[in-house]
């Protein structure tokens, strides 16, 4: 993993590009006050999904990108977050906003605890162990003894919250801002963590665990803590997904979800914070457009058979990895370096 550079974690200041980006994300939805486009609310919903995926990927990135622990099981923490929110809203009558911190804490706890057995495992062994989490959780949610709380296979239906009167926002516009604020908060927390001592410790463990231990870093503590924080952030994503979709069910949290987080992470760029945003958008946009491409191919070339959309998705992924092995953000960075420091790179 030596190829990873830590520029995004260690660079000082927010950077004007990042600032503009966040401002754009915040200002964009205000268009809703002027537009009459009936699909506006749908785009807001897409925005929510992207931000939710972004948060989940951010959690995963902290673990994989900055701490070198591979997890294929983050769909499990996403599910725990979602179910925490759903159960609190449904049975305890809590308001949606109060459930989010609880979801974060519970997921932190779950992740922290899982971090202990994970200490004994490394690389692909850890990947396999977390893989079992992703497989077990949807089945555990159906388990009879807790089906009264989880709703079993039928899941739980929630009430979608309305925007508070004073904001004068539409429901989806409001939920978008809720997601955006929590995404910014998560990014802020992660960024501060990475810049400090703990961040350096985490990255040192990733680069060479034994060397890090020799230098006096408590590797066990940092590894379990990172696992906990990572799970907690992903859990916030899960909580938001329960609120925005207004329904949770075991089928929502299959292995496929865990894989799509991983794909989003790799596509966006491992160990890149803006890469999480790119990855979140990628998951939502590309899965939808690969089907459009498939339909378009069928019509344009008047094929007799369907072109499988997932094959196109796969080909897109392969092409991307071939041309941008470090993900989209990594690719952009390389390009930027080539353009600005042409002489140095050639030398």
């Amino acid at each position: 993993m030596a190829a990873i550079d830590n520029s995004w974690a260690t660079k000082g200041g927010l950077g004007w590009i990042a600032t503009t980006f966040w401002v754009l994300l915040a200002v964009g939805p205000l268009a809703g006050f002027f537009t009459q486009d009936p699909s506006f609310e749908y785009y807001m919903f897409m925005g929510q999904s992207m931000l939710i995926n972004t948060i989940a990927i951010l959690g995963l990135n902290l673990l994989i990108g900055f701490n070198g622990q591979i997890s294929l099981g983050h769909s499990a923490f996403f599910a725990i977050g979602a179910y925490t929110t759903a159960i609190l809203m449904n049975f305890a009558g809590w308001p949606y906003y109060a459930t989010i911190p609880v979801a974060a804490i519970i997921c932190f706890g779950a992740g922290f605890l899982f971090g202990f057995p994970a200490l004994k495992l490394e690389g692909h062994y850890l990947a396999l162990a977390t893989f079992t989490l992703a497989i077990a959780v949807p089945q555990l949610l159906k388990y009879k003894a807790i089906a009264g709380w989880t709703g079993g296979v039928g899941g739980l239906i929630l009430d979608k919250p309305d925007a508070p009167e004073f904001t004068r926002l539409g429901t989806d516009q409001y939920l978008y801002y809720l997601c955006l604020i929590l995404a910014m908060l998560s990014f802020w927390i992660v960024r501060n963590m990475l810049r400090g001592r703990s961040g350096r410790a985490m990255m040192a463990i990733r680069d060479h665990a034994m060397a890090a231990g020799t230098m006096g870093i408590d590797t066990a503590k940092y590894k379990t803590l990172t696992f906990g924080v990572s799970a907690g952030i992903t859990g916030v994503g899960g909580a938001l997904s329960a609120i925005t979709v207004a329904y949770v069910a075991p089928d929502s949290f299959t292995l496929q979800l865990a894989v799509s987080f991983l794909v989003g992470l790799v596509v966006g760029g491992i160990a890149s914070l803006p890469g999480c945003l790119v990855g979140g958008a990628f998951i939502v946009l590309i899965q939808n457009s690969s089907q459009s491409i498939s339909d378009w191919m069928k019509v344009t070339f008047s094929l007799r058979y369907d072109v499988p959309a997932w094959a196109i998705y796969g080909i897109l992924l392969i092409l991307l990895m071939y041309f941008m092995p470090r993900g989209i953000m990594g690719g952009i960075e390389t390009l930027w370096l080539k353009l600005t420091h042409r002489k140095e790179t050639q030398a």
Binding site: V153, V245, Y247, D251, S252, T254, R304, D306
Partner: protein, 405 residues
């Protein structure tokens, strides 16, 4: 005088024109003079991708309608069928895309219980017709709370109840073993079965075992049920596991009374692979003709279906039951659209869907007709019991149902 007559004529002409204009041009969103946009979500990928054949078959059916009949009353059906991978959040996203961005007229045959549950509230708030839902759950027939959603097939709950009633009528003290898939289908069937047994007679159940759709076999579950002393099996499985179970039961020389749910009662996909001699006497309930059963081959609707499959969907496997059920559903949908005439509003579509009188649909068992009314949103509610004899199902008894129309 002349002028007055002319203006009177003109006036009369205008009123006729405008009246005709009113009758002709009453369109809801997604409808034009040439097109009706229909939305659908299907699991083309993911765990349940086997069900995705339904969406492909219906796309083929509408292509046939568009090309041979010029569509419905001159308007071509534009089916936008999207892949939700059987994941409820994805379904919500795609249905919102269909409704808000693509502006579809209605939803048709969206597949899956959890996926449809996720959009149930939304489509009813938005007043989008959500017709012929492809799920056997019983919650789709609730016009009071959800006036825009209507189911289709006889629900699993009712079917489970039918078996329990039949069992109690024929066996005074059965020892029941239940084998079920651990998902919503399994639960629905067993709930209906429980309701039929009533609370006090539930003690007859001596063993209730589950398996996961991803398990390799159900052999150990079969042994478990036999060891619990069961003499009746309620077999709630999908085709692959049903065939395994029937084979295993014969192998160990066990002879329980065997109820097999309709979703797994295909001659071609289950009974023949399991060995017809092992399947003798098994009981099931049906509403569709089993097209893999050669006995129905000479019926005109089956012939027509075969011709359709050969010409319009030649790559599909005709042994897959979805190809028959989705065809019947698409036929009924086209009939409902036709009955709307030129008033293609969402309200009128629901009105037509809720006023079906004795519609005959191809591939249904003889005697089964589709009926709905404003307070009955269960289009199909009758099933008939059948016993496996020789190499096919032999129907017996009356048409059975739970919901009274």
């Amino acid at each position: 005088m002349k002028l007055a007559r002319r203006s009177a004529l003109l006036g009369a002409g205008l009123t006729i024109l405008s009246r005709e204009g009113r009758a002709e041009k009453k369109y809801g969103p997604g409808v034009t003079d040439t097109e009706i946009k229909v939305g659908q979500t299907q699991p083309y990928s993911g765990n349940a991708s086997a069900y995705g054949v339904a969406g492909r078959n219906q796309a083929a059916y509408f292509r046939m309608i568009n090309e041979t009949q010029g569509g419905v009353n001159g308007r071509k059906i534009n089916l936008i069928s999207l892949d939700d991978g059987y994941s409820p959040p994805k379904t919500v996203e795609l249905v919102r895309q269909l409704v808000e961005r693509d502006q579809v007229f209605c939803l048709f045959y969206t597949l899956g219980t959890q996926t449809n549950t996720a959009i149930h509230k939304y489509v009813n708030q938005k007043k989008i017709p959500h017709l012929i839902v492809a799920s056997g759950a019983s919650k789709w027939g609730n016009p009071k709370q959800f006036p825009w959603t209507m189911g289709w097939q006889p629900d699993y709950h009712t079917e489970g109840l039918i078996y329990a009633k039949h069992l109690l009528a024929t066996n005074k003290s059965p020892k029941i073993g239940i084998l079920r898939q651990n998902d919503d289908m399994g639960n629905d069937y067993v709930e209906g079965f429980h309701e039929g047994l009533t609370e006090t007679l539930k003690k007859f159940i001596v063993s209730d075992v589950t398996y996961e759709a991803t398990d390799p076999t159900v052999d150990s579950q079969i042994l478990q049920m036999r060891n619990a002393g069961a003499d009746v099996i309620f077999n709630v499985t999908t085709p692959k596991f049903a065939a395994q179970a029937i084979k295993k039961i014969a192998e160990i020389g066990w002879k329980p009374t065997h109820y097999l749910v309709s979703v797994a009662a295909s001659v071609g996909a289950v009974m023949r692979p399991a060995g017809v001699e092992n399947g003798q006497g098994i009981l099931t309930a049906q509403y569709l003709k089993d097209v893999t059963d050669p006995r129905w081959d000479d019926f005109p609707d089956v012939k027509e279906w075969r011709a359709f499959m050969a010409k319009w969907n030649p790559t599909a496997n005709v042994l897959e039951g979805s190809n028959a059920s989705s065809y019947a559903a698409a036929y009924a949908f086209v009939r409902i659209l036709k009955s709307c005439g030129d008033e293609l509003t969402r309200e009128n579509l629901m009105r037509q869907a809720a006023n079906i009188k004795n519609m005959e649909v191809p591939l249904m068992l003889p005697g089964i007709k589709v009926n709905t009314s404003p307070d009955n949103f269960y289009p199909l509610q009758s099933m008939q019991l059948a016993r496996f004899e020789g190499d096919h199902w032999v129907l017996f008894g009356d048409m059975l149902s739970r919901h009274k129309g």
